[in-house]
Each structure stands twice: as C-alpha cells, then as structure tokens.
C-alpha cells in the first residue's frame, strides 16, 4: 500500500495555503507533518481525508481495497472530537463503530485499551479534555482503517497516555498501516518528515 500526493495545491477562503506539494508514505511508514502555525498542516490532512477538494493535484492510495475510495479507508482524528455530550461514552463509541463499520464485539476492549472503561457509562459531557482525546483514540482503534490521519493527536494527553499512544501507533505500523500526523511535538516513533514552511 502506498499513499502519495502529487503537486497538491490548496486554496482556503480565497487564499492559497500551499502549492506544488508532494509526499508519499508506504505501508508501515509514518509521515510527520510539521511547520509553524498556519502553515497548512491541518489543511493537508483534510485534503488527504477528502474533506477539502484540492485546487490542483491529487492524492492516491495504491494497493488498498480497490472498490473503496481513499477517504473510506482512512480515519481522521481532528481537533473536534465528534462526541455528543448527551450520549454516554459507550453509546458514543458504539454508534461510531456501527456507523463506520468496526467489529461489534470490541467496544469495551477499545475503551479498556485507552483506560476509559471505568467511565463507560458517564455522559460524554463529563469527560475531561484528555479523556475526550482518549475516547477519540478508542474510536480510531475500533473502526480499523489502514490509513490514520492524525491532527496533533497527543495534545491534552498525560504522560501515560502519550506512551500508550506511541505503542498503538507502533502496532498499527507493524500491521502494515500508514500514518500521517500533523504535530508540533516529536511523535515518539520513527517517521518520514514533511516540513511545511508556509509561503513567505
């Protein structure tokens, strides 16, 4: 499997964010996207996720499941955590698992692996910032997509959470997955790097 972007150009709100951007990552590789605030890291991830239409160029995934599009094989972990405060932690997770098509049996297990099982029946409104992030990570695990698109995934996580997440990323890469992560902090795994400068 190989994820690559060629000659990408992104325009948002009438302003060019980046252009002529190239990148690629193969199975088992992580690509760390770094750069100053406003350089376009999030924009790039959203282009890869299919949530933004690039003004030029294209992103392709070779060697994935043929009948699925790239965005259907990717999971996007962004700043906004897609949790409904009125639903309980477990309800939130179960919904996304059913809707995005994860295995039905492992919701509890995914919660346990991010150390949230004790909170399974709390409303999501009661979670602390780090706990919300952990729940997002549980969702990432439960939907089992080969391509992970992570936007500052470790923000709000405590030290234990960061270690845990490093382990999870290792496992994912070990299983042949691909990771594209935008970050300001070292990820803790080996990565290829894509530095975005922001046009000067």
């Amino acid at each position: 499997m190989r994820l690559s972007g060629r000659n990408l150009k992104c325009v948002r709100g009438g302003r060019e964010v980046f252009s002529g951007l190239e990148f690629s990552a193969s199975s088992g590789e992580a690509l760390a996207v770094t750069g100053p605030n406003g350089a376009g890291k999030t924009s790039l991830l959203r282009v890869v996720a299919g949530l933004l239409v690039p003004a030029d160029g294209a992103v392709a995934l070779e060697g994935g499941e043929a009948e699925l599009s790239l965005s259907e094989q990717a999971h996007y972990l962004g700043h906004r955590d897609a949790l409904k405060p009125a639903l309980s932690v477990l309800e939130n997770l179960s919904f996304w698992r059913e809707f995005l098509g994860g295995r039905p049996e492992d919701a509890g297990q995914c919660l346990a692996s991010v150390a949230l099982d004790h909170a399974a029946h709390l409303p999501a409104a009661y979670l602390s910032a780090g706990q919300r992030r952990r729940l997002s990570i549980a969702r990432l695990l439960s939907v089992r997509r080969p391509v992970w698109l992570l936007d500052e995934p470790t923000s709000a996580l405590d030290a234990a959470g960061q270690d845990l997440f490093v382990r999870l990323m290792r496992d994912h890469l070990g299983g042949g997955g691909i990771i594209v992560a935008a970050t300001h902090l070292p990820l803790g795994i080996e990565t290829r790097n894509l530095r975005m400068e922001g046009a000067k």
Binding site: K9, V11, G13, G14, R15, E16, V17, F18, G35, P36, N37, G38, A39, G40, A55, D56, E197, G198, A199, K200
Partner: protein, 263 residues
Amino acid sequence: MTLTDLANPTRFLALTTRILPWLAGATTVLLAIGLYQSAMAPDDYQQGATVKIMFIHVPNAWLSMFVWGVMSVAALGTLVWRHPLADVAAKAAAPIGAAFTFLALVTGSLWGRPMWGTYWEWDARLTSVLILFLMYLGLIALWRSVEDPSRAARAAAILTLVGAINIPIIKFSVDWWNTLHQPASVFRMGGPTLDKAFLWPLLVMALAFSLLFITLHLAAMRNEILRRRVRSLQMMQASRVAFSSEVGAGSRDGHASNEIGAA
C-alpha cells in the same frame, strides 16, 4: 470562440466590451418598433384597450422564467463543470430576473383589476409566480449575505436547481388547475391562437425584452468580474502589509486560481 476560451475572464471582458454597444443599439431599435406596433394595435373586442398591457406583461412573464432557466444552466456550470464564469453569470442574473418577475406581477395585477375585478387572487399561476419572486429575493439575499463568493456560489447553485422545479409548475399551472388566468395562447401545441394583430407586436416586444436581458446581463457580469478583481486586489494589498511586517507563517498569496479575480 469556444466555451473554454470564454472561461478566460479577460477574453470575456474584451468580447463584452466589443459587443455591448451593438446589443444596446439593437435593443433600442427593437423596443422602439415594438412600442410603436403596440400603440397601433387595435383594441380587443373583449378587453378593449387594456389588451395593450399584454405587450409588456407577457414578455416580462416569459423572461421571469427564462432568467431562472439561465441561472439553472449556470448552476450546473458551477457544480458540475466548475466553469469560472458560471458563478458570475448566476449572480449577475438574479437581480435582473427579480426585476422582470416583479414587473410581471405588477402588470398582471394592473391588468387583473379591469379584467377580473381584483388586483390579486390566490390562484395557482399567480401564486407560483409570487413564489418565484420570493425565491429570487432569497437568492439575492444569499449572494449578499455570504461574503466568500465561491461559497455563496455553491449554495446558490443548489438552491437554483431545486427552485427550477417551480418553472414547469408556473408554465403548466393553467392547464393543471382551474385558474382565472388564461391558458397559453402562443407557445402551445397546435400553434398560436392569438390574432395576428396582437401576435406580431407581442413577439417583437418579447424579442426586444430578451435582447434587453442579454445586454443587461452581460453588463452586470462585467461588473461582477470587476468586483471580484477589486476583491482579490484588496486581499493582495492586505497581504502586502503582512509581508512588510514579516511575521507569522502561512501563505500570503492573495491569489486563488478558481476565482475570477486571479485570472
């Protein structure tokens, strides 16, 4: 000159500037002929002199629907082909269409008073035209209240296409429902039933008004292109300031390839 050539707004501007005077001239001449002919037209044996209102009512009514059709094509251009002039065409057409619709409504009611004894009646034809007018107003409101033109264009395109369903309803309302309004007498199966003495002035006036629309539309499109240029230049100017203060990150390039202003 093909459609792709026209995609270049600069070419389009040049072309517009060349043909606008001719169009305006032709419109004036045709309008003069049409007005003369309608003044000379005989009185109707039923309607008396009020039949003269027809010569302006019907062209305006036709155009009110035609303009929506133009906007629907432009909407497809925005959504499907992403043609850069489509947004401009759609936006420029809305106020003109609204004006024609307004005129159709008003001349219709002014005709309705002597003919039906009332200015307004909630029948299917009249109502559907009023809905058309409201939708024009909604579209104009949408264009005005969303600053980002490409965002507004996409929303407006979808709304235009959905609203296009109203057009056949207007056209056939007189056949589908029992209405006060009279059924089609020009564009109908089996040819026009209107007397020649009325048909000719009507057709000339219709042609004149269509030319008027084309002229106004091209001129309004030109304005819109210029407006977008101004916008993108202003954005560039703003980013100049940013360059000189040399802080921060991110692209300061004010250009957007899918915007007219950048062409």
